[in-house]
Symmetry: C2
Subunit: 334 residues, 2 copies
Amino acid sequence: MARAAGVSPTTVSHALNGKGTVRKETVERVQRVATEIGYRPSPIAQGLQRSRLGLLALVIRPFHSLDTFLPEGVDYFLRIAGAAGVTAMEHGYSLMMVDDPTRPGVPFSARAADAYIVTEPFENDPVLTMLSEQHIPFVTVGADPARRDEFITLDEGADQQAQLMITHLAEAGAQRIALVTGTDRNDWNLGSQRTLERWCAARGHEPLILSLPEVEGERAGEAIVDHFFAGERAEHPDAVFCLTGRHAAGVLQAATRRGIRVPEDLLLAAGSGSLQNRTSRPTVTTLNLRPEETAQRAVEIAVRLAEGERVEGPLSVPRATLDIRESTSRPPRG
Amino acid sequence: MARAAGVSPTTVSHALNGKGTVRKETVERVQRVATEIGYRPSPIAQGLQRSRLGLLALVIRPFHSLDTFLPEGVDYFLRIAGAAGVTAMEHGYSLMMVDDPTRPGVPFSARAADAYIVTEPFENDPVLTMLSEQHIPFVTVGADPARRDEFITLDEGADQQAQLMITHLAEAGAQRIALVTGTDRNDWNLGSQRTLERWCAARGHEPLILSLPEVEGERAGEAIVDHFFAGERAEHPDAVFCLTGRHAAGVLQAATRRGIRVPEDLLLAAGSGSLQNRTSRPTVTTLNLRPEETAQRAVEIAVRLAEGERVEGPLSVPRATLDIRESTSRPPRG
DNA sequence: CTGAAAGCGCTTACAG
DNA sequence: CTGAAAGCGCTTACAG
């Protein structure tokens, strides 16, 4: 490029970046030649000397157990991804989704991010261990349950979120609330479980809890209904709270198939809902976890970390709200 | 790092990459020190000299008019994105989603990709112009309608795809098929329109076609039904083919609201379907565009381009198939 | 106003 | 077996 314009590399750089002082005609000539030959400064070379690429990485840990980058009917994480991409762009960064960067053979670009966002890390998550050991800045959405205060974390307040739904179900008349969690050992599953146990303990009855792999999705419906409605009638729950929208959709189908009416016989709710919970018959009450705002906060923190700022203080996701729908809208049993 | 291990940078490089010949003990010491101090070679510096970062960029042009990275109920592109991410990873690349890289102020990382995939480019798309001028390798999914053979393109065969659905509707008894396209000037909208026009011409009647912004989604349903069912009864279509699943979902709702029964009074089909078309009542017939395979092909081409290989010959997406559902399953009008 | 020099953090011939 | 030198493509002091 320098040769093509008949000037030094220094002058090219100055001209193209508006730095230093360059005669106006020289600037124009350099620009003209640049567009003529389709020259653009190498972002890699530029990155080298800023030692920053303007790249953020998003690791959605639950996708690892779901074994896909595009689980159907799992809105929450896709909305996180979409919003994170947009927010990153607004801050002058790009965002890439990567799977598990600790695996051997990962694209080496996966390690080129300036900062990482890790959502729903597992207990003692090796991804966090690696990032931490290699001094790569990162923020997690939801704590590593085993290392709660060790890393920079947007606390998701799983306890509060579960409590919100449990209170709603109780107010709608539920006496025995069953909880269906996933099997990933993350703060969302573990925290919700703790919360229901506490609630049941306060009422002096045994908690009804079932943990099934997230990946089973709606297929898990039959197993869930079998499990809770097998024994004596007095033992049956009058409300089921599934942490995932797909489990809830499955329960709705399985219950309907057996003549268990929602919400007349059974209240039904989901933690992280999805499209199908809004369109099923009846529609299903869910938590609104506000993934867009969560992503926004996470990206803002990641950007600050990427730029070498310190980030302190207790951080948290926006407070969840209830999207009350038909599945909990009529008092059960009458 | 070199100093910490008491050797030269050359030896560090050799030891860590298993190149050259280094004494076994030296290798071990270097490795030990590396993990101790959390050293990792800078991917940027490595990228500089390979002049490649292992990064692919995906530009989903329709998102630009939809004005979001996460349109709800638009499966096709998200499935493209998910599958592209996975396939990229299998080839040792990461994938980032970028919006319009021609805008001023884009993250400079957005220009750091080794190759681009651009889905559904617009007519005379400036993104393609820029990539082409800057000699950045790219592949499009769907042609730029104005520059059909100028770039490396996975042809989507919009004509064939539309023909497939039209034939199905006709076989199901449709006499007058109305087409609803989006307003983006891409090959999918324009090609489908051409195909319906040809079909109508062969039958000697005027084509019923309405173009409405993709972004209106289900809200467009009322307008569509208003438009086609305003005039005399003889002029009403007996089948509506919406290119987007959201338009189709809207038509279903609006029709139902007016007592137009699907499929008894009206056959309904969508081009690129989504979850809601599979779960609505009745379920809606769609094309299966096989986005996962499309993404896979696109990524494979992008990787070859990134690695400097030539790519030739007519390329195309996998052939669409029909997902026939209730909305076209009974002969209309008895 | 312009350019030679040094440096960003690596790797790859090449010499010892 | 190890390291000094050159180079990947830029930018940023600094000298002229």
